[in-house]
């Protein structure tokens, strides 16, 4: 309790800074800000109101993320926290920053390769090259549209023979 129980004064900017420290439960190298899950931070009569959006409708990490945000803010001395789930605009991999994509690759997950505005790719009418995060080869093959979590597809690299996750574009 940095500011003492009775003077919970974080500005909106400081709350954003605090949220930057909260890791995604499934991909701990990324923060919830890297992923673009937090859409809005407001202070209404000194009560923080945070809007978050799910990556997938059934994402089991959402409850956990909500709890982490709540705990972090209560720890700072806020006595009340409002968290709102917002569906529109729907979350898209386009919101993952370039820096976060580099972190994903370093962690062993191939980052999304194209913009979701490219409907032909999204419908599977055109394939994009997915680079192996281990050996950087582009000789890779999709094994399954669905991987270890809803947001990932399963690939295998034909050069180094390693399987890897690909963060698919939605």
């Amino acid at each position: 309790m940095r500011n003492g129980k009775y003077s919970p004064v974080l500005t909106v900017k400081e709350i954003w800074k605090l949220l930057e420290e909260i890791p995604d439960p499934e991909i701990p190298v990324l923060s919830i800000l890297d992923l673009g899950i937090v859409r809005e931070v407001k202070l209404i009569n000194s009560v923080p109101e945070i809007s978050i959006t799910p990556t997938y409708s059934g994402c089991p990490a959402m409850d956990m993320i909500e709890r982490q945000i709540r705990d972090a803010l209560l720890d700072e001395g806020f006595e009340e926290v409002h968290i709102r789930s917002q569906l529109s605009p729907a979350w898209t991999t386009d919101w993952i920053s370039e820096e976060a994509k580099a972190k994903l690759a370093a962690y062993g997950i191939a980052p999304p390769e194209h913009s979701t505005k490219d409907k032909r790719v999204l419908m599977g009418l055109e394939e994009r090259v997915v680079r192996c995060p281990h050996c950087r080869s582009i000789d890779t093959e999709m094994k399954s549209q669905f991987g270890s979590t809803a947001c990932k597809a399963l690939y295998v690299c034909n050069s180094c023979k390693e399987p890897f996750d690909y963060f698919k574009c939605i």
Binding site: C59, L87, L122, G124, S144, Q145, G147, T149, A150, I170
Partner: protein
């Protein structure tokens, strides 16, 4: 019928479709023919149940009786469910699971694409979110229809039979009633006849690519929207609802 009432019924039916088909698919968890398909089918189940939760939450708000999404999932009996009877059909062999999924995905995909332009912002928001997921579902099921249909002699025979057998349950997806009419007139939901045309295009293209026969039956099993279901739904609910019925208000 009041528009508010129609919106509530529609949102709850959408939730019922997602919950019932999602639960059916979840039965395959740990029993899939290969680990990749097992994981894929379970992921699709998760998406559908997540979407059902969104629709039920909206339904609860529209109904205004202070219910939660769990009330709709756990505290209703067979005749109160409004899902299409296609969704409750048993998994059968993998070709049958895929045939059921493919017909549903083709319908769901085109319906959601239109619902994104709904006059109701809550309907549009859930549709926009769901459509991204369902695009992948349709890709997955279409690819399997083609792989099995255009595969070995045995897989072709089984896929072709499955597409024909399950066809009987697909007409229920396109039944129009008062709820549909009130909402179509208000621009909240698209005209099902328009969806049907797009659905048939998708279905015909994929079935022909799979070298299978386009089913020709015109007599369909219907009744889901009115709560008239096949025998399978009761057995499914017995399992789905066991815990909250045996231990009311259990927390975990």
């Amino acid at each position: 019928m009041e528009i508010q009432q129609a919106k509530f019924e529609y949102a709850r039916r959408m939730g019922d479709n997602g919950l019932i088909l999602g639960h059916r698919l979840s039965e395959i968890c740990g029993h899939g023919p290969a680990i990749e398909t097992d994981i894929a089918v379970t992921n699709i189940a998760l998406d559908l149940i997540g979407q059902a939760r969104n629709w039920f939450t909206l339904a609860a708000r529209l109904e205004g009786l202070g219910k939660t999404e769990d009330d709709y999932a756990y505290k209703r009996d067979v005749y109160q469910f409004g899902n299409a009877i296609l969704c409750e059909q048993p998994n059968g062999h993998f070709g049958e699971t895929i045939a059921r999924q493919f017909y549903f995905d083709a319908f769901h995909f085109h319906l959601l694409a239109e619902l994104c332009h709904s006059a109701d912002p809550d309907f549009a928001a859930i549709a926009e979110k769901s459509l991204k997921e369902v695009t992948y579902h349709l890709r997955f099921s279409s690819e399997w229809v083609i792989r099995l249909g255009d595969g070995t002699e045995e897989s072709h025979t089984k896929m072709n039979e499955a597409l024909k057998d399950i066809w009987f349950h697909t007409g229920d997806l396109f039944v129009r009633d008062e709820v549909e009419e009130v909402l179509t007139n208000a621009g909240v939901v698209p005209d099902l006849r328009k969806i049907y045309t797009k659905y048939m295009d998708t279905v015909k293209t994929t079935i022909s690519e799979a070298n299978c026969d386009m089913p020709e039956g015109t007599y369909f099993n219907t009744g889901g929207k009115k709560g008239v279901h096949t025998e399978y739904l009761g057995f499914m609910l017995a399992e789905l609802q066991f815990l909250p019925r045996a231990y009311p208000d259990a927390q975990w």
